[in-house]
Symmetry: C2
Subunit: 199 residues, 2 copies
């Protein structure tokens, strides 16, 4: 690789550190940026350097924001006794497209000992602190329905079960538009357990 | 998306301009950079801003380099009468792993009218200029074996057929370790046409 100038190998190296980008994709991206008229290395570079600039985390819910508190937490029209716990900021964006009217808590990850993510690495202490005054009526745990997400949900139940009157989990079942024929058995089992009476 | 601070949406936008990275991957990469301890947005950002810094193109073969001429072109031990024409700098890196002892010419693309790549956009004029003094004995066209690569090879044959004694193309055929059963018919046809007698 000594044939390539060091600034090129450095860009390739840094790209390779990203998830899902191997050495070959990193090379392709780097040379694309050198040639492309639409994407420019300077624009992407500057955007990345500015990324953490002035970026704050909401002191209440830990959402990324520019102020001390995010737009949701400062909105007095929302139900502050209802907290939806999510893994990351993009989950907040997803739930904001629904008509959810409570507030959020962003964990910035899930419990995953293999990846070195213990309770200390997550914003769990902040969640416990928010519930201490007894004003929170319900916590909806909206971590992903996988092993790590379920472990995180159990941990929250253990930590806050005695403090918060109601701790719930998002419903499991068939996604809208799904085909029962192709649904996996775990999903069908959960859909049966969670069946609701027709009104 | 107004929930996300502008520096985050800007990084997502710039990532989305890269080939093979859609809006969802761009979001994932951006948030990965925010959290990761291994990859940092500052390092990648600075590498990209420096990418074109002091980067030169070899005045002879158009390879990326830091000097006026690249290491291959300044090497007097190599055969300067044999030019291997490739699409991009990574192809040079690939051929340098073989025992090839001639020099190169990097086109920085292939003829592709749909993508706005005509002869003017490629380093074809520079190739013609290199062959003018009659010292070049052979040009090996090593563009990829696809429609654009073949069109570029024909164009080079037209332009230089009268000036350079020998213009060749890389052999087509079965790659080493391939399974004939699974080879496509075009490859098998080319492998038959190009068959060689056993010594």
């Amino acid at each position: 690789m000594s044939l390539l100038p060091p600034q090129i190998t450095r860009a390739i190296e840094e790209f390779s550190k990203l998830p899902g980008i191997g050495p070959k994709s990193a090379e392709r991206l780097t040379f694309h940026l050198l040639r492309s008229s639409r994407a420019s290395p300077e624009n992407l570079g500057r955007a990345l350097i500015d990324l953490k600039n002035e970026l704050k985390y909401c002191t209440a819910c830990q959402m990324v924001t520019l102020q001390e508190q995010c737009a949701v937490c400062t909105d007095t029209g929302r139900d502050h006794a209802l907290i939806l716990v999510v893994e990351n900021p993009l989950d907040v964006v997803a739930f904001e497209r629904t008509s959810y009217k409570g507030v959020y808590h962003v964990l910035h990850g899930v419990l995953s000992p293999i990846d070195g993510m213990g309770p200390e690495q997550l914003k769990l202490r902040e969640l416990v602190a928010r519930c201490k005054d007894g004003a929170v009526q319900e916590i909806v745990v909206a971590t992903n329905p996988d092993v790590e997400g379920e472990a995180t949900a159990s941990y929250i139940q253990q930590q806050l079960g005695a403090v918060v009157p109601k701790i719930t989990r998002l419903a499991h079942g068939l996604p809208m538009g799904a085909d029962i024929e192709f649904a996996d058995q775990m999903t069908l089992k959960e859909a049966l357990i969670g069946r609701r009476s027709l009104r």
